[in-house]
Subunit: 337 residues, 4 copies
């Protein structure tokens, strides 16, 4: 039984993580921290957790976490805050799965460019492993610090990996058009997530400027062994959860749909949470699960890949537990089935 | 052509009012005020109005409004602000339709009790007419100050008026259970109206304590000639617009459904915006219109009244224009059909 | 490990039940039947189950089920079909949890009156136990046939049980106003559940005529030891899941809110899935869980009870597994936490 | 006052058309036909029209329509039915605006290929004008038969016209990724539009095979003077109304965003219902209006065009009335503002 801490307990990913871990036979949540005033019950922050967890939140205190025997900390803090908080644990040997963006981009200059502030924990950044188990599964197993991947990037990276790994597409031709539910925007009320503003409406945002772009490109470059460029357009959809991503790419040689599906099935043969399906998936098919669904089509010689996941489970807290399982030697699907 | 001003242009009722007035053949919007900094275009506050209105918002200035020849001001300000702003116009002869709650409750003590601050424009309060045209149509025609009614109260009052007018029900037995879309909560983002919080969820709020309660009771008492008490429970529904109200009352003598429907049809014979329908209405039937739909059922001897309206049109800006039409001598349906 | 069969696998309750049972450490699904043509994979009927269950549906065949060693059958068939199908298993000793309405109403005449056809399995009807564990927990443990309760009735019965048990309210005064998500209407497309018809809209239906009415009254009469009458009004809400019920009752003596909450806490002291909460619950608080949330208010001397649950979990498949746990001697919360 | 008939009154486009025409000062609806049994009131088919139109639907009868003096018929029939019905009016001089797909594709072979049946009114097909006023405004004015355009095609064609007209992009590089509300699927209940199936979910459909593809390509070829190919991917979004289209194209020479916006503003200088906006539009901005909103972005040298409209107004019934206005010599915006 691994003793775990949740750092930053007030948001949606923390709530989802707690729900998953409460079912996990090998994890025990011993503390939940918050930057809010006071020591509210976790169930006061998340009424859905009433009767399921009795902990009170506390302020972050590395000494106390160490004293309590925390073996693994899940960081659910905003970017910027994360890299100010985690070093105190990392330097003392605690293993960390960070759900923020702070340790995802290897190059601190790229971080500074996209996040608008310089990185101030470059030492740990250098050791971080990007937490996409289907790509970096072995490194994750032995990592002290795992940078849990973003929700959008997973749909793009895993949707494209078999194509770029085999050098099957023009790497400058890629378009990633994503549609996300509103929980991806977090739990702090804003005008654009006010119900009467975003309900019954679709829009795009951060066109060509979304911070998940470099994360997609860095990982695809690892897979390809060469630079990969994507045009990434996220859209906001009036639903709670789910990301649906439509990817367009120009193949280097003609493909049929069945060839594509075979390629994907083979590439993900060992991946228990990737479902290669013949039909076009709906986000509802993976709602509440850690699955990522993918299918492929060929239109006028272009490849069209369609992928879908639940942004709070597979896109954040579920894959975090998948990483946890790898790091601590449990069956990858433990607590996630 | 009546020159009108919109005071407080940033909210949902203002946007709806502008859309209705732009189609109204006898009204011309000459100014829109805002308490926000600067002088944004109305279309910047409401992108849906792009290309339909070229005005810039300005700060409220009674002199300037008078100089511009404003004949009618629509107040879309929050309660409290309204009674601080409108006297400057009222005292100089401008006719006002106030969409806030400030002039709805005749007794300033009741206002203080429910709104938590003392009323500071008691003089004009004494002259205000409650703007429910089906009840106070004649007084509205000659009023200088019309207190536009709340959205919930209209469904309750007009749903009950035929019953209390004829002394057909026990006036201590009334239960009003209302279900409202989220736009009724206004345009300022709050946690409970954050999309991922209220979407795919129903809850009740302010049970027994909602500020529309005294407004309902005051008007029903006028209709009844005696005190009326209601138990009022509002609920928040994951949709943009619409209020559905289910009313329960104990009749003094047995009624059949057809007797009830006849009673209602007769009572509202002249009311062009009240539709007495045999089927149970959906809020979608009146979406975007100034209609209020009502039907009646009898269950185990109890009367069940079901009423529905669009909270932004009939519940606010549409009925405001209906009042405007009465005040300025236009056909009641002008611009509202 | 209990071998279970799911009868009627194509609907929403079957899908939910399969998901719960796949996580249940003491249950193994060995067959899923369907009345549809052919032998589709369960995952073809429910793409969300892809990769989680490999079974093919088959036609119902009692002999084959017996031969396979089925110990417990969950009936997810429509009413009418259920009482034609289950006797073949019941007569041969299989224990059954029936999610249809066929065995809920003790009096076959009441069944005939509300369901429009005569009951043709009166023998087993006489042995059926109504599957509400908080009321009939001991009978359920030893029952062969459990009639799983309806979704609405649970919110009404458990919301009222502490009041009628203690004779605290006028039993002729009860109003039950319920708001339900659309999945409660089942999976067969109809005009009123066509997305553009019911989305962004609220309406009531079957006012005073809903088939869950006698089910509520029968159970409350058991609790009260006397006849109880309710006026029941269901409403359709534009969301997938969740029921929120607002109950109004006239107390026999004055109550404060804290007295009410204490009464409820004591009554449900042993009930692990009933959460008595001080705040007004949202349906989202219990979404995806087997919890039923209840709070109480006092308005002008009337009692207002507010209760909420997930209609597919607590309202159907979750409580079915709760019954299964009781019937087979497992901890009540197994697989449901 | 032009006497108009609505053919096929039961669907969403008919209801929207009736609402628009009821406000139109120069049109009078004298008949509404239906293929349903009996002669239901229009308000029975569409409760929202209660109190606004008293007509009863009747079966289609060309003689009776002629005798009644119908000058313009709006066809709201399904494709296939339309080309069987309209010839009886066209051959006798009635002007027709057909909202079906039957007269949109000039080449009957293309029609047969995409719609799976041969065209059986080739004579009138040859005379039909594609009813996109911003492209074919003059031909529409004098046409007897206008083939009202599809909802998706308008967002694609008008989003691309300035680029292909000026030969600014690679005409083989175009990707059109569209997101549509569910009303676009019509009013007949289907499994994929059943509320609990499509709510809270996104999916793509008919990838590379949607029937609007040849309509887009035919019109862009007219604008370009050369063949244009598009890859078109429609998606289903959980909302009633609205289409948001994201278009990707490779420019022949570098463009800045302001150059693009200028190009579009100039191209649509006379187009009263096209709004070129600097911000990314939301579908809600044009909800309930006849506006089509467009903006442009440049991402890594690629052009990204974002366009949005209300599929029932601008996408169908609003543009039909815009065509009506042109055909009968009224100001283009009459009844649509």
């Amino acid at each position: 039984m691994i003793k775990v801490a949740i750092l930053g307990g007030s948001g949606y990913t923390a709530a989802e993580l707690i729900k998953i871990l409460l079912r996990h036979p090998e994890a025990r949540i011993i503390t939940v921290t918050t930057r809010q005033e006071g020591t509210p019950l976790v169930a006061e922050l998340h009424p859905s957790l009433t009767g399921r967890i009795d902990l009170r939140c506390e302020a972050f205190d590395a000494d106390r976490l160490l004293a309590a025997g925390v073996q693994c900390a899940f960081g659910c803090l905003p970017h910027g805050v994360s890299m100010s908080t985690l070093p105190a644990l990392l330097s003392r040997g605690v293993r960390v799965i960070d759900l923020s963006a702070d340790y995802r981009l290897r190059d601190p200059n790229v971080y500074a460019q996209w996040y608008g502030e310089s990185h101030h924990d470059v030492a740990h950044l250098a050791q971080a492993v990007y937490g996409l188990p289907e790509i970096y599964g072995e490194e994750i197993a032995s990592a002290q610090l795992v940078a849990n991947p973003g929700c959008y990037p997973q749909t793009a990276i895993l949707g494209l990996a078999p194509l770029v790994a085999g050098n099957h597409i023009d790497r400058s031709s890629i378009i990633v058009d994503s549609k996300s539910g509103v929980s991806g925007a977090g739990r702090v009320p804003k005008m654009h997530t006010h119900f009467p503003e975003c309900n019954e409406s679709v829009t795009a945002y951060s066109v060509g400027q979304h911070r998940h772009t470099p994360e997609i490109e860095q990982t695809l470059a690892d897979v390809a062994g060469e630079t990969v460029e994507v045009i990434f357009t996220p859209h906001l959809i009036p639903m709670d959860r789910g990301i649906f991503t439509t990817i367009y790419a120009v193949p280097r040689r003609p493909f049929s749909e069945s060839q594509l599906l075979d390629l994907y099935r083979e590439y993900y043969l060992q991946a228990k949470f990737i479902r290669i399906v013949p039909q076009i998936p709906s986000t509802k098919d993976s709602l509440g699960t850690n699955f990522l669904d993918i299918t492929a089509r060929v239109v006028r010689g272009r490849i069209v890949i369609l992928s879908a996941l639940d942004n709070l489970v597979r896109g954040a807290s579920g894959v975090a537990v998948q990483n946890f399982n790898r790091m601590f030697g449990f069956e990858e699907t433990t607590g996630l089935w």
